[in-house]
């Protein structure tokens, strides 16, 4: 081969290697970004899950109130009524979860179970519950289960 041909081959080889390295870098970068975005999504889901123990007691459907002013507690009579509701509206808010209020009885506030799930995670918190029949405040427990698909 002539010297010029050799140099052209060398140039082609260098460009070829450069593009292979470029493609590998793009694949690594894409995977890294995908993992990052999934991580942010998981973090967001985790945050939403943990905040349910604060969000659920402050829902107007459950929150106790006096002369229209909301208080930081769950009204037992509202909770019992809420347990009978089976509204698809809440599926958009809570997703695949189970929410239980434990007082002297267990009141299932919400439950939407996927057809198959690998496990469930649980968080719980003591919560102030107002019983309007006895005009007493008791310490109940709010349990939130998240079904893991």
């Amino acid at each position: 081969m002539k010297r010029g041909q050799l140099q052209i081959q060398e140039s082609i080889f260098v460009v070829f290697i450069f593009f292979i390295i470029l493609m590998l870098s793009m694949i690594v970068f894409y995977q890294f970004e995908t993992r990052n975005i999934n991580g942010i999504k998981d973090e967001h889901d985790e945050n939403l899950f943990y905040h349910l123990i604060s969000y659920v007691p402050s829902m107007p459907e459950l929150q106790c109130s006096r002369i229209g002013i909301g208080d930081e507690c769950i009204d037992l009579s509202k909770a019992r009524a809420f347990g009978f509701m089976n509204d698809d509206y809440y599926k958009g808010i809570f997703g695949y979860k189970k929410i239980i209020l434990e007082v002297s009885e267990d009141i299932v506030l919400y439950n939407w179970e996927p057809n198959t799930y690998s496990g469930e995670r649980k968080i719980s918190s003591p919560i102030s519950v107002y019983d309007p029949n006895n005009n007493k405040f008791i310490v109940g427990v709010l349990e939130v289960y998240m079904y893991e698909e």
Binding site: E46, Y50, H51, I53, S125, P126
Partner: protein, 150 residues
């Protein structure tokens, strides 16, 4: 025997490989442990919920707020009734059943009397951990709860 150009090229390749490795290690260490901050927020909410529930609770024929007021005015009976109630409810903080010794170590309830006398009463053995916001009652007395991570 390699010529100078080849040796230079090898050196360059080694430097590039080292830089890539250092970059990968940095990325690995920059990635923070997932979920730890969220868990602290959860403990903080839980501690606040519990302190709030205790501040409102009806205890026998009275309520926690009256007991706190009497306790801070020096009524020992009210103090022991209140702190006994708090301790009896510590087990509610566990997501799964805990033994008695674990229950007492999982939280610490503090009552700080508002008369600036420095009187502080507490129950539980959790030092540190995640603290709830202080709940200031109408009497000026404050209650607070510390929750230890498990």
């Amino acid at each position: 025997m390699r010529n100078k150009g080849q040796v230079d090229m090898m050196g360059l390749v080694v430097i590039v490989v080292l830089l890539v490795l250092i970059g990968l290690f940095s990325l690995f260490f920059i990635a923070k442990t997932p979920g730890s901050e969220e868990r602290d927020v959860y403990y903080s909410l839980k501690a606040y919920n519990f302190a709030n529930a205790l501040s409102k609770a009806s205890i026998q024929n009275t309520n926690a707020e009256s007991l706190i007021l009497s306790c801070c005015e020096g009524d020992g009976g009210s103090c022991s009734l209140l702190l006994g109630f708090v301790e009896d409810n510590f087990y509610l903080l566990g997501e799964y059943p805990l033994g008695d010794s674990e229950v007492i170590k999982s939280a610490k309830f503090e009552l700080i009397c508002g008369d600036y006398s420095g009187v502080t009463m507490s129950r539980g053995e959790c030092e540190g951990g995640v603290a709830s916001e202080s709940i200031i009652l109408q009497s000026g007395d404050r209650i607070r709860l510390n929750l230890c991570r498990k």
